[in-house]
């Protein structure tokens, strides 16, 4: 089992959204900041604690990931956008900052394209969703599961406490396999959204792009691709950080905080 509690200081609420169990983690006070996590949340939210000093940080677990329930009928990103419209109604959330990481960045970009009036400021961190020329060497799906964690970071020690001692731990493998299935439903056949560039001009809210310079999953060149479609977005990249740039670099977390404040 993981050596640390991945969601320490966060409170847990469970909602049922269209029949799907949806766990929402919340910490802090202030303006609401919604964080859309990536295709896994096992590496915890410790990085987000500084944000909780100024914001009410709200982290819903996506259906099919972490502690939220499965809904095999959710087969595209838009299903997740609709899911979050319902959840935000239930939470009485109107306007908020939106930070999305990786798969969550793709989702955040879609949400903001469609419902821009609800997003004060948008931050996309190592975001998936666009078809770049820079493809990673090994695609995420075809990697042996025990190799994925080390691919996510530049410094393995950052995530080590959240991993089981045995890299072939059956329960851990099973949970990741379940999340892999969720991801496969969304993007096995189309690991990017060819339509998204058509609509990114709708991101008129202040927007920031954050990337780890040693990202081996979605290389940093992808950041330029996003910026081409969102020319006003400010870009910050961080040396010595991989895909999990927020987990690895406190400076990245602080930069996001400054941007949102």
């Amino acid at each position: 089992m993981a050596a640390v509690e991945p969601f320490a200081h966060f409170e847990r609420e469970t909602h049922t959204v269209n029949g799907v169990k949806t766990v929402v983690l919340t910490a802090g006070r202030g303006q609401p900041l919604v964080f859309f996590h990536g295709a896994g949340i096992w590496h915890g939210l410790k990085f987000a604690l500084p944000w909780t000093e100024r914001f009410r940080v709200i982290v819903p677990m996506h259906p099919g990931i972490g502690e939220s329930g499965d809904d095999p009928a959710m087969t595209d990103i838009h299903d997740y956008v609709m899911h979050y419209l319902d959840l935000f109604d239930a939470l009485r959330l109107d306007k908020f900052h939106l930070v999305g990481f990786s798969l969550g960045g793709w989702l955040a970009a879609n949400f903001a394209v469609e419902h821009g009036h609800r997003v004060e400021r948008l931050v996309l961190v190592g975001s998936a969703g666009l078809r770049g020329k820079e493809r990673p060497k090994g695609d995420f799906f075809s990697l042996p599961p025990e190799q994925i964690p080390s691919l996510l970071v530049s410094n393995f020690d950052v995530i080590k406490p959240y991993l089981p001692d045995n890299p072939k731990d059956l329960d851990f493998m099973g949970e990741r396999y379940r999340e892999g299935a969720t991801l496969a439903r969304l993007l096995w056949e189309h690991p990017y959204d060819t339509k998204l560039p058509r609509y990114l001009h709708r991101l008129t809210m202040p927007t920031m792009l954050v990337w780890g310079e040693e990202d081996r999953l979605l290389p940093v060149q992808n950041a330029e691709l996003w910026r081409r479609h969102i020319p006003k977005a400010q870009l910050q990249t961080f040396k010595g950080a991989g895909h999990l740039v927020l987990d690895e670099k406190r400076e990245a977390v602080d930069a996001v905080q400054r941007f949102l404040s």
Binding site: F141, D171, Y177, G180, A181, A184, E189
Partner: protein, 389 residues
């Protein structure tokens, strides 16, 4: 054994000319570089393998079985219907079993058409099995493994509608829309060729076979698991009002017959080793792409894989699977015993094992046809046992 006993000859048509460094490759599937495929040697192998299938017909096998795999040296039958079309005019009596194309990896109308063509061409000798496809096929094809089972069900539904209802009909599904489902030609056999589902026995597919009244051909499952599957299918078929016949439960038997047991083992084991150690070698990730298995199944199979780890061991394979390597008498005895235990009279004989040379395949099939088949057809084993008691 009740009813007419039946023997199929199954071929995998492997590409056996592997490079000397093949063991350095973690898998002979999916990413095994196709630069190792030499078309000239491939042509020779096709010619040889087709001759072996035709020989099986001449020797009196009741059926020949071909199947589909992609991106692999394990099998050169990426399109088994082409192989079936090539052997139909060269065979007279044998049923042609295409076991088969994963219906979710092909447009269902096209598959309904192709199978109908083969059935007409062969004057009703076609049998069809629907596989979900191994996990490896999903790395080679552009279809999501996460929706594979739903697509599988819908595709079979469309094919059966095309075969059973006068066209044109319509179909408005989750995956496919047909404004004019009206395939020409239609199957020769009425209402359609005998159908099976073929697989390693996930509960969902067994249940589907039961619902549709199909047979179930389990492949590469252990003896106790095969028995369990047959029982599950009987239950499920009965629940859906189908009376399952013994011939709907083909039993896959790795078979080699020779003059003595020693000789049989001496001649066969290296090829069985090649089959398990090399031809079947792949990675857990290729075996189970995301969403292909339930989480429970994944954990069960991962635990099992760890147990089986440790290299080839003929005794263990012999114990775990249906393997009949020995004299004609021994093979007769085993097949008879398994037939009774499994409640089947339909045996799918894997008689061209791994990288076996042509002469061994010919020898094996000939011994089987001359010394094993007649005794089993007469029920000679039963008589012998009765006499001994």
């Amino acid at each position: 054994m009740s009813g007419n006993i039946r023997f199929d000859f199954m071929h995998f048509m492997p590409y056996i000319h592997l490079p000397p460094n093949q063991k350095e490759h973690h898998s002979l599937w999916v990413d095994f570089p196709n630069k190792y495929y030499d078309p000239e040697r491939g042509r020779e192998l096709y010619q040889r393998y087709l001759a072996e299938l035709v020989l099986a017909d001449k020797l009196g096998f009741d059926a020949v079985v071909v199947n589909e795999h992609h991106n692999t040296a394990y099998s050169m039958m990426a399109a088994p219907n082409l192989i079936a079309a090539a052997i139909i005019p060269q065979t007279r009596n044998a049923k042609i079993c295409v076991w088969g194309t994963p219906p979710n990896l092909e447009y269902p109308n096209r598959l309904a058409e192709e199978y109908a063509m083969l059935d007409v061409l062969s004057q009703g000798r076609l049998e069809v099995a629907f596989p979900l496809g191994t996990g490896m096929e999903y790395w080679a094809n552009p279809i999501s493994p996460a929706t594979a089972r739903d697509r599988f069900r819908e595709s079979i539904d469309i094919i059966l509608q095309a075969w059973t209802q006068d066209g044109p009909t319509t179909y408005y599904g989750d995956f496919y829309t047909y404004r004019y489902l009206n395939p020409w030609p239609r199957p020769y056999q009425k209402p359609y060729p005998p159908c099976y589902i073929v697989g390693t026995g996930s509960p969902e597919t067994v249940e589907l076979a039961g619902k549709l009244g199909f047979g179930y051909a389990s492949v590469f499952v252990t003896k106790p698991r095969a028995l369990e599957l047959n029982q599950q299918l009987r239950r499920s078929a009965a629940q859906h009002g189908h009376q399952l016949r013994p011939e709907q439960l083909p039993l896959q038997v790795i078979t080699y017959v020779a003059e003595t047991q020693d000789k049989a083992e001496q001649e066969a084991i290296e090829h069985i080793r090649f089959f398990f150690e090399d031809a079947l070698r792949t990675t857990p990730t290729f075996l189970a792409p995301p969403g292909y298995l339930s989480v429970d199944q994944l954990k069960k199979r991962a635990a099992l894989a760890d147990k089986l780890h440790g290299g080839f061991n003929f005794e263990a394979i012999n114990e775990a699977f249906f393997v009949a390597v020995g004299t004609a008498e021994q093979v007769v005895e085993r097949i008879e015993e398994w037939g009774e235990r499994m409640g089947t009279n339909h045996f799918n004989i894997l008689g061209a094992i791994g990288n076996m040379p042509h002469w061994k395949v010919v020898k094996n099939l000939s011994f089987f046809a001359e010394d094993v088949m007649p005794r089993l057809r007469r029920g000679a084993g039963l008589e012998r046992r009765a006499a001994a008691e």
